[in-house]
Amino acid sequence: MAFTFTVNGKQHTCDVPPDMPLLWVLRDVIGLTGTKYGCGMGVCGTCTIHLNGEAVRACLTTAQAAAGKKITTIEGISANRSHPVQQAWMEEDVAQCGYCQPGQIMTACALLAKKPNPTDAEIDDAMSGNICRCGTYQRIRTAVRRAAGTPKAKSAKGGREE
């Protein structure tokens, strides 16, 4: 079945089954590999993307549900890594292996878009769906706080996402 996906502002028409998870449409059909496969059942957060600005698990979002909506992936949150969350992640040297970090960053971006100055408890609440086996949680907390303190963090100016 042909669906049209708007990913990072660009349209892609793909002939995929309606129940195919967006994760695999992005990775194997459209070719955007920044969104990662971790569990396939929505418990690790590694595949987190934005659907109409909401953080969702791409492994549980079907092609049919995603078609026609605005999809943002890690590749699309900014040009030149200018999003305050990306900047903070580099400044704090958050990543170790880095595999889960696109999902962490997408969750953090969605959090800050809603709550520009989250409390520590709100950060933990929002980020608890994202597993990191390397154990970068402490730096994630610090980086989210740093991003929240960055001027214009709320609007993510410079990126393609409002």
């Binding site: 990662k36 890594r81 170790q96 994202n130 086996r133």
Partner: protein, 708 residues
Amino acid sequence: MNPIQNLSRREFVTAGAVTGTALVLGCSLGFKQPPAVEATSATGPEFSPNAFLSIGADDTITVTVNKTEMGQGIRTGFAMLVAEELEADWTKVKVVNATANQAKYGFQGTGGSGSSRSAWEPFRRAGASARVMLTQAAAKTWSVPESECKAENGFIVHSSGKKLSYGKLVEAAAALPVPDAKTLPLKNPKDFKVIGTRVKRIDNPAIVDGSAVYGMDMRVPGMNFATIVHCPTFGGKPVSFDDSKAKAVKGVRKVVQTETGVAVVADNTWAAMQGAKALTVKWDDGPHAGLSSEGIRKMFEEKGKTPGLEAKKTGNFPQAFEGAAKKVEVIYEVPFLNHATMEPQNCTAHVTADSCEIWAPTQFPNFVVDQAKRITGLDPSKIKVNITLLGGGFGRRIESDYAADAIEVAKQVTGPVQVTWSREEDMQHGWYRPASYHVLKGAIGADGACLGMMHRLVAPSIGGQRQPDGGKGIDGMAGIANTQYGFPNFLAEYVRANTGVPLGYWRAVYDSQNGFVQESFMDELAHAAGKDPFEFRRGLLAGSPRLKGVLELAAEKAGWGKALPKGVFRGIASHFAFGAYCAQVAEVSVTDGEVKVHRIVCAVDVGTVINPNMVEAQMEGCVVYGLSAALFGEITIDGGKAVQTNFHNYPVMRIKDMPKVEVHIVKSEEAVSGAGEPGLPPAAPAVCNAIFAATGKRIRRLPIRLDE
């Protein structure tokens, strides 16, 4: 072995390796090559110097890293070593991963917290050689004495002020003889500008914009996507399969059998996974279908009743125990654990009649080469193994089973194919941290003095599992037999108790459980002796000043002995492993049966530090990995299968569980040691000792279950 002695002019890449406008330098890593590996050299059996550094006419400095990056930061750390001695402009430094070629690059296996130790001298030497040659080239170009020229931030600068960038000197430098390795000046540590500083991870930009390429992100023109189902029972094999329903799934192209499973090849991974679910496979369950956790535990218990092989003996423990005023006799147990790397196992391969190219997220590329030789029968010169970034390693990717899958599937299809395991396959077909059973005895004198202890480890052997007879001798005693405590009487024994469960090198390996048991038991002894757990340990560490040092530092930074908020209790543990010394103090509260870890104060002595930021990150990571296991981790075996399938029934730590981790690094000029694992063993016992302080309940079985 000291690589200085092994370097000769011939071992350096010189003009022979200069291609076009790049100066390529390398040096021997000083590793003795096993013959089998040597034969894999693409350049033939004779010694071929390896190349770690090349400088382009455009000033780009390319460092080739011969170990696998899996988050420990070696791509950054190794480049720092080169940049330090080269006086490089860091912004011009690029890092590439070596392909598998041990004859050229030396031992490429990444594990045992050994990468920085192995690179410390060779990578600095590679940088120093280039610096000397570039300086000579500039002196020659300007017809001035070499002593008037010096290297500075990517330039050779003359005392008159004129300067030339490295790129401009590449051709002249390449024509010069390589300096004698023995007289090659390496920097005095007090002059280090890069080493010891917090250089940011070189991979950060690619990670935060999603462009970093892990195994599963490899895209090769014309490739297909596949997944595989293995026999659910350990050691089982497919007998036959019905793929009629699988082939009806849109996008499925082919179904092929491999040695251990059945793979579905499709247009995308999702179609392959749907096809795999639709397969009907008849399995030969093999010899291990009767395995269960309970059966294994009973076997351990039985074997633990008789003395094992003596791994270490000091004094006469049985006699000391006999005459002790207080005797402590307890059993400790830990379960099997899965590595659960965030990136499930996968590999991409392209096999033709006369070639095999592989893109593997592997810690041991040489094992992948071995698999390719075995499966394709091709000459090693026809096999190329590219190493991608790893979405976590932790020892899981020392194994090469995922690569064998990809090579076997690729052999049966046209064009490249990427084989991705589902999380369920990954969880149920791991190489598990061995479960173990520990018999402990301790002897305390009437005056409270520690008379000694006995630790009998009953565990399957990781090394023995691949030997037909299960292996012989002592294994798994790291963290016991090399205890740093000066016990007057000490006895360490090993009882081999093999099972059919596949075993692997899980972060910190046997130190992961042995450290937990030793340090929990030390706490038991301290309490039996009526002493403070910190002071009790300290009193036995006169012979190990570095472990004593971190113990004291952790205690001091944690405010050991000082008041804590109501309901919060401390526990302490220390451990020596992989050349490094680590101590941790945990602050824990227990409310309504819930354990909350508030803070871990970690003191570590890893010798010379290349990048303190990355050592801190490794300590934070070790604490999380160790506490994930202590709080949640357990693979149970039933019917010869792993019961757990995904993160919903194999929970791991999440950010809400994350304590504050404070890392204090001992300033040291001792040799570089490991950092990837030494922080793990003390975490669980520090927490469990704090739980004892809070509740009076001693945790002798992991994961922690207060109601047990």
